[in-house]
C-alpha cells in the first residue's frame, strides 16, 4: 500500500470519523440489499465454494453437511466447526454466511468472532431453545431468519433480523413448501395493505407481531428488509418461480451439490434468477443439466422430520 496515490495527495481527509458507526440497522440490512437478485449457495468445502463463486453466487453458506445429509444422518445438527468455516471463508471473495441453532447465542458469538458476514439462525439445525430466538440486536454481525408466514417474519424482525427467508422444507428438493411459505408471506403483506389504520391494532394481535412493524408493512407493501426464498429449490425454473412469486433472491442448499453437474446447475440457477421473467432464457439454461437431486416429496415426510415446524 506504500505507493497508494491517496497518500501522496495533499488534501486533508474529509471523512468524519467521530460519527462513524458499525452494526447499524442500515449497514446490516444494506448488505442484504446488495445480495438482491442473487443466489446464495450451501457449500461444504473450499472447492465447492470456488465453484459457487465461479458460477456467479452472491454469497456462500458454509456448512459441514448440506441439509439433505443432515436429514439422512439424523441426530443433533450443530454449528459447523470454525475451521471448516474459516477454510471456506479464505477460498472466496464473496460474503460468507454460516448457520447457528435457533436460540444458541453462543454459537452466534463464536461465528461473529470468526468474522462471518451473515448468520443464519436456522431451523435446519437442531433448535437449542424451545421458546426464545436469539436477541439479534445484541450483535454487530447481521442475521437472516426463516419464516413460514408474515407473523413469524415480523417476530424475527422485532428480534433484530436484518433479512428474512421463507423456510420451505430444506433438503427435499421439493419446492412446494417454499411456494406455500412465500405465498403466505406475500398474501399476508397484500392483505395488510388493504387495512385501515385502526384495523391494524387487531391485525397486530392476530399476527402476534408488533403494531409498529404491522403498520409499516401496511403502508409500504413490503417487509422493511430483503425477503429471500429457501428450502427445496432444485432447478432454474424453481428459482424463477420463486422470484416471480415475490422473492428478492434465492438460497439453494442441497439442490446444487447433490445434483449430477453442480457447476453447470449452479450457473443455470444464477442466470434463471437474474432473468426470472424471461422464459426463453430460463429454457436455454435449463437444457442438458444432468440429473437434479433425487429429492423427497414433502408429503412423504413424517411430521417429526419437517424442519419448517421448528421456530415459532
Amino acid at each position: 500500500m506504500s505507493d497508494a496515490a491517496a497518500r501522496s495527495e495533499t488534501t486533508p481527509p474529509a471523512g468524519d470519523d467521530a460519527t462513524a458507526a458499525v452494526g447499524t440497522a442500515r449497514v446490516k440490512r444494506g448488505l442484504a440489499d446488495m445480495l438482491k437478485g442473487g443466489v446464495i449457495m450451501d457449500v461444504v468445502t473450499p472447492d465447492q465454494a470456488r465453484i459457487a463463486e465461479e458460477a456467479g453466487a452472491v454469497a456462500v453458506m458454509a456448512l459441514e453437511r448440506v441439509p439433505a445429509d443432515i436429514r439422512a444422518d439424523g441426530g443433533v445438527a450443530r454449528m459447523s466447526d470454525p475451521a471448516v468455516v474459516e477454510a471456506i471463508m479464505d477460498a472466496v471473495s464473496i460474503p460468507l454466511m454460516a448457520k447457528v441453532r435457533i436460540g444458541h447465542f453462543v454459537e452466534a458469538q463464536v461465528l461473529e468472532s470468526v468474522g462471518v458476514d451473515y448468520i443464519d439462525e436456522s431451523e435446519v439445525l437442531t433448535p437449542a431453545d424451545e421458546t426464545h430466538h436469539i436477541d439479534k440486536h445484541a450483535f454487530t454481525v447481521p442475521f437472516v431468519c426463516g419464516a413460514t408466514n408474515l407473523g413469524e417474519a415480523l417476530r424475527r424482525l422485532a428480534e433484530g433480523a436484518a433479512m428474512i427467508r421463507s423456510k420451505g422444507e430444506a433438503g427435499t428438493g421439493d419446492v412446494k413448501e417454499a411456494v406455500r411459505h412465500m405465498r403466505a408471506i406475500t398474501t399476508g403483506i397484500r392483505r395488510l395493505t388493504a387495512t385501515s389504520s385502526d384495523e391494524r391494532y387487531h391485525a397486530a394481535k392476530d399476527l402476534q407481531a408488533s403494531y409498529e412493524l404491522v403498520d409499516e408493512v401496511a403502508r409500504t407493501g413490503r417487509l422493511p428488509v430483503v425477503l429471500f426464498t429457501a428450502g427445496g429449490i432444485a432447478t432454474p425454473a424453481d428459482a424463477a418461480l420463486m422470484m416471480q412469486l415475490g422473492a428478492d433472491g434465492v438460497f439453494v442448499g442441497s439442490g446444487i451439490f447433490k445434483s449430477g453437474n453442480p457447476a453447470k446447475r449452479a450457473r443455470a440457477i444464477v442466470e434463471a434468477t437474474t432473468y426470472a421473467h424471461d422464459p426463453a432464457i430460463v429454457a436455454k439454461v435449463s437444457r442438458d443439466l444432468g440429473q437434479p437431486m433425487v429429492g423427497i416429496s414433502n408429503d412423504a415426510l413424517p411430521p417429526e422430520q419437517r424442519l419448517a415446524d421448528r421456530g415459532w
Partner: protein
C-alpha cells in the same frame, strides 16, 4: 411499474427485487417522466434504490438487462451488489463490450461499490493480491475490494464530497472497497481516514463518477444530483 421505461416496454413488466407488492405504496414515488433517461444495470444488486434516487434527482430511470437497452440512454448507473456476480453476468449476456464501448464513447456513468470496482482498470483482493474478475476497465483506478474489512467492519458516517454542497452526506460503507491508486486524469472527490492513512472513496474521471460507498441507501439524492448534472452537461 417503477423503473421499467421505454427501453424495455416490449418486454414483460416485472417486479424489481425489494419492490413493494402493491403498485405505488406509502411514500414510494412514481417514476419521473421528465429529465434525462438513465439506465440502471439490473443484473443483480440494489437496483431499486438507484431507481428511486435517480427519480428524486430529476432523471427518468429505466432498468437495463439486455444490450439493446443501452441505445436510448443518456447515462447509466452500475449499482452496488457483488462485483464478481455482476461482472460474470455482463460477460455471459453480451453486455461487457457494449457497456465498455458506450462508456468510452462518452456515456456518463455512476458506479457505487461493486459498480466502482467494475469501472476500474484493476481490482485487488483485501490482502492486495490481484483479483481475477471481469472488469469494464474504463477508469484509470485500482480498487481494493473489502478494503475496510468484512461485514462486522461495515460502517456509516458523514462524508464531505467535493461538488456536493454542505452539509456532509451520510454514507454507508458495506464491505466497501477503496481506491488504492488513481491515475493523473482522475480527481479524488472524497477521502476517509483509515489506520493505513487517508483513502480515496469518491473518484471522478470526466463523465465517469465512482463511489466506494452506497449513496443510494441513505435517502439523500445529492450525489445522484451531481451525476445527473454531469449527464445534462454531456447532453448539451
Amino acid at each position: 411499474m417503477v423503473g421499467e421505461g421505454i427501453a424495455s416496454a416490449r418486454r414483460r413488466v416485472d417486479r424489481l427485487p425489494g419492490q413493494s407488492l402493491i403498485p405505488v405504496a406509502g411514500d414510494e414515488r412514481p417514476p419521473s417522466t421528465l429529465g434525462p433517461v438513465v439506465g440502471v444495470l439490473a443484473l443483480q444488486g440494489d437496483v431499486l434504490e438507484h431507481v428511486r434516487m435517480l427519480s428524486l434527482a430529476g432523471a427518468r430511470a429505466v432498468t437495463v438487462r439486455h444490450p439493446d437497452q443501452l441505445d436510448d440512454l443518456d447515462g447509466v448507473v452500475l449499482p452496488g451488489g457483488e462485483s464478481t456476480t455482476i461482472g460474470k453476468m455482463l460477460e455471459r449476456y453480451g453486455l461487457l463490450e457494449p457497456v465498455r464501448a458506450r462508456l468510452r464513447g462518452g456515456l456518463p456513468a455512476l458506479g457505487t461499490c461493486a459498480g466502482a470496482i467494475l469501472m476500474g482498470s484493476d481490482a485487488l483482493h483485501a490482502d492486495g493480491t490481484p483479483s481475477e474478475q471481469p472488469l469494464l476497465g474504463v477508469m484509470d483506478t485500482v480498487t481494493r475490494r473489502n478494503a475496510f474489512g468484512r461485514q462486522v467492519a461495515s460502517f456509516e458516517g458523514l462524508l464531505d464530497i467535493d461538488g456536493v454542497p454542505a452539509p456532509p452526506l451520510r454514507a454507508a460503507f458495506i464491505r466497501a472497497p477503496w481506491f488504492e491508486r488513481i491515475g493523473d486524469g482522475v480527481e479524488a472527490l472524497a477521502r476517509v481516514d483509515t489506520p493505513a492513512g487517508a483513502r480515496v472513496v469518491v473518484a471522478r474521471q470526466g463523465h465517469l463518477l465512482a463511489a466506494a460507498f452506497h449513496p443510494e441507501l441513505t435517502g439523500d439524492p445529492r450525489l445522484h444530483a451531481l451525476f445527473v448534472e454531469i449527464v445534462r452537461a454531456q447532453q448539451s
